[in-house]
């Protein structure tokens, strides 16, 4: 069987799982989760098989397509439901189904007591299905189908616990914000369809250089990039990602590691031959990526919610991927996407394990000293942190070390102005990454236990809900740590079906960079690997490899500085952070309020749209259409009624009089006028 023959099975399996769980998930009970996980695992097995058969082929045969059916035909314009297997999509399906399987297994334990268990897994499977369609499409419309599909699923899953208004709002925010980018992307798709007469990748890549004028190429690339900005949570459409933490933790892991946010990076890499034709668009990609990278890293430093720290770190890491793509190092971008999937899933699932142990307390200020209580979680979180901060020396290192170095070296080696700016911003962000990641570890696992002050813990210990403490509500303005004390609470390690997936991810986080860096970024092997799937620049890869020693050492040095600052502030002198905040309250407020992006958007967009909406609602609909339409007609009928009702006096003689007058009138008319 050829590599492409069973390609359709890969998305079909999760789709079957989604369908079954959606309709009879309730009846399946506990087995719904196992069923869903098995299907994704089967999809992973098929992915491994087809990817393996792809490796066996010679480099020029490594683009396999499978047309399932003709989807749309309008005149000469035709779009097929066609799947494409090449090194890029093979990498993505392995990440999506592999990480997806682990997250599914983890969810079986994490969601154990949820009343909507079956529905949860139906959504998760659907999410995986749409993501697979997105990466496997042979044309932009299939990609767009998956693109919108993951948007829908993110909405369903972020708002999964919709009983709480803020969860429902977060889901709405994610959906609307990404829709803004999607709309631009749809316009870009339409432009491509007009210019090329098709949406098929092979045709577009073949003709991208010759068909388009410079301005058209720039316009299309920027419109498509706007879609990526929305989906991958880049500045200025990043606002939905931190709020997306409202969903269950496995969902956050799925969104941040395997699906959804990687879609933007994937799309830019997928369409790299298209982006290569416009230098302006590439510069924009670089600047946006670098800006997000540094912005999100600063915000991550001042968050107290453990999941929010990791969320902003995702935002920041995606920035790395984008500016890597922006300087033309698509291999490095994909490499970071690949390694990031491991350690980000690991960090999220680890955080879920911590939250599980701490009875749903998410505020790191109420953690502390958990190292001895939940040792397995501690060690895997440390592995994830070593990976994300990029610990390693020349030739040996954790996953993030390889990919982040590759990105920073490529940015420097590109030699362009945006590249160099991105390099410095990226290096600074690496320092901040190291700081906030170690801060998370130190606050959570080291120091004294500070659980006593947590409402959740009190609740767990006393089994009664005490009157809510006023201080907790606005504790964001009180940066000092709460008092120590365990409050008589004993954290418990998570069950085995949650720990095993985390353990496997930890192995990936440690080894993924070491094992695969040749394939993804080495000048010779990666050029061979990526041929025909992305516009891999061998020249840039060579230049990156030969960049100066200090460039290679920069990430390691800044990582150590960040570690030192975190250690000094949270281990050596735990009060130092509070002192810093007290000294520079304005800086702290600015950063911890996420640079006031939400407030700015509230002022610029939300309020005006609400105002406009109210204008149309009150003035347009109620004031004009309703007033003169249905309500006006009803009112007129009412008035008419009241007038005619007066004739219905109920007195027989008045009826008779009217009849008589009418008769006289009719008779007179007949006699005098009608001849």
């Amino acid at each position: 069987m050829s590599a492409s023959g069973s390609l359709w099975l890969i998305p079909a399996l999760p789709l079957v799982g989604a369908g079954v769980n959606l309709f009879i998930g309730k009846r399946l009970g506990r087995s719904a989760g196992i069923f869903a996980a098995v299907l994704v695992a089967a999809s992973f097995a098929v992915s491994v098989a087809v990817a393996g058969s792809l490796v066996g082929l010679s480099a020029q045969d490594r683009v396999q397509t499978q047309e399932l059916f003709e989807w749309i035909r309008v005149g000469a314009f035709s779009v097929g439901a066609t799947l494409r297997l090449d090194p890029l999509s093979a990498t993505m399906i392995l990440v999506v189904t592999g990480i997806g399987t682990l997250i599914h297994i983890y969810s079986i334990g994490y969601m154990r007591d949820d009343p909507r268990y079956g529905r949860f897994f139906a959504y998760m499977n659907l999410f995986v299905f749409f993501m697979l369609m997105l990466v496997l499409g042979q044309n932009l419309l299939v990609l767009y189908l998956g693109w919108e599909g993951v948007g829908l699923c993110s909405y369903l899953l972020i708002g999964f616990w919709f009983e709480k208004t803020e969860n429902a709002n977060a889901a709405k925010k994610a959906f609307v914000t990404t829709r803004i980018g999607d709309t631009a992307m749809l316009i870009g798709l339409a432009l491509i369809a007009v210019k090329f007469g098709t949406l098929d990748y092979t045709v577009i890549f073949g003709a991208a250089g010759s068909t388009l004028t410079k301005s058209a190429a720039t316009a299309i690339a920027l419109l498509l990039f706007a879609g990526a900005v929305g989906k991958s949570a880049q500045v200025p459409l990043h606002v939905w990602l931190p709020d997306a933490m409202a969903g269950p933790t496995p969902v956050s892991a799925l969104i941040h590691a395997a699906t959804m946010v990687t879609a933007g990076v994937f799309m830019v890499c997928r369409l790299s031959p298209m982006f290569e034709t416009s230098a302006t668009a590439m510069h924009v990609v670089t600047y946006v990526g670098a800006a997000t990278c540094i912005f999100a890293a600063t915000v991550g430093c001042a968050q107290n919610d453990i999941k929010r720290v990791i969320a902003y770190s995702t935002c920041s890491q995606l920035g790395y991927m984008f500016f890597a793509a922006g300087v033309g190092a698509y291999g490095a971008a994909m490499f970071h996407l690949f390694t990031h999937a491991f350690f980000k899933a690991l960090l999220f699932l680890g955080a879920g394990s911590v939250i599980h142990a701490m009875h749903h307390e998410q505020d790191m200020r109420y953690y502390g000293a958990l190292r001895k209580e939940i040792p397995i979680t501690f060690w895997v979180m440390v592995a994830g942190t070593l990976a994300i901060t990029g610990v390693g020396v020349e030739g040996v290192g954790f996953a993030g070390f390889w990919s982040k170095d590759a990105i920073l070296e490529s940015a420097w080696a590109s030699g362009s102005v945006p590249g160099v700016i991105a390099f410095w911003l990226g290096a600074l962000a690496a320092l901040l990454t190291s700081f906030y990641s170690w801060r998370l570890i130190f606050l959570t696992f080291f120091g004294e236990p500070r659980w006593a002050a947590s409402e959740h813990i009190q609740h767990a210990v006393h089994h009664v809900h005490e009157s809510p403490d006023e201080e907790h509500g606005d504790s964001a303005h009180e940066p000092g740590l709460p008092p120590s004390g365990s409050g008589g609470y004993h954290p418990h390690e998570s069950p085995l079906n949650m720990l095993v997936p985390i353990g496997l991810l930890a192995v990936g986080a440690v080894l993924a960079g070491q094992l695969f860096h040749n394939v993804f970024v080495d000048a010779e092997r990666a050029a061979e690997f990526w041929r025909q799937s992305i516009a891999f620049s061998q020249h840039l890869a060579h230049a990156a490899h030969e960049s100066a020693l200090w460039v290679k050492l920069t990430p390691t040095i800044v990582m150590l500085i960040g570690l030192y600052i975190a250690w000094r502030n949270y281990i050596q002198k735990p009060e130092a952070a509070a002192n810093f905040v007290a000294q520079f309250p304005a800086v702290y407020r600015f950063v911890s309020n996420k640079w006031y992006f939400d407030e700015l958007y509230d002022f610029l967009f939300v309020r005006p749209s609400l105002w406009l909406g109210r204008l149309f609602w009150k003035g347009g609909d109620e004031g004009t259409i309703d007033r003169f339409g249905p309500h006006g007609a009803a009112y007129a009928v009412g008035i008419g009624n009241r007038i005619t009702a007066r004739f219905q006096s109920g007195y027989l003689y008045s009826y008779a009089l009217v009849m008589l007058l009418g008769l006289i009138g009719a008779a007179s008319w007949a006699i005098w006028w009608a001849r």
Binding site: F647, Q648, Y651, L652, Y653, A656
Partner: protein, 101 residues
């Protein structure tokens, strides 16, 4: 020389006017009913008068016809008055006001 047609018409008008005033002013349903009969017969009288003037039997036939219908109508009308009386214990038309607007 026969009686001029105008005599009949004037008499008929007087009868019809009396009937009309009776219908309009009286409250008792039975009296109103009698007044209606008066109006009917005033019209019958004109029918017969015109019939004679034109030397045609059509008008007289129509008069008979209207008398027969009136007899039937009296039956129905009286039955209604009786059932109204049973319901509201009155034949005063002002008391039957269920349909007032």
């Amino acid at each position: 020389m026969s009686t001029p047609i105008s005599y009949f018409l004037v008499l008929s008008s007087i009868l019809f006017a009396i009937g009309s005033v009776g219908v309009l002013t009286r409250k008792n349903a039975l009296i109103i009913f009698m007044s209606v009969e008066l109006q009917l017969n005033a019209v019958n009288l004109t029918l017969v008068a015109f019939s004679r003037m034109h030397n045609s039997l059509n008008g007289q036939v129509l008069a008979f016809f209207s008398m027969v219908v009136a007899a039937a109508e009296v039956v129905v009308g009286l039955a209604i008055i009786v059932s109204v009386y049973r319901r509201i214990r009155s034949v005063n038309v002002d008391d039957a006001e269920a349909l007032r607007g």
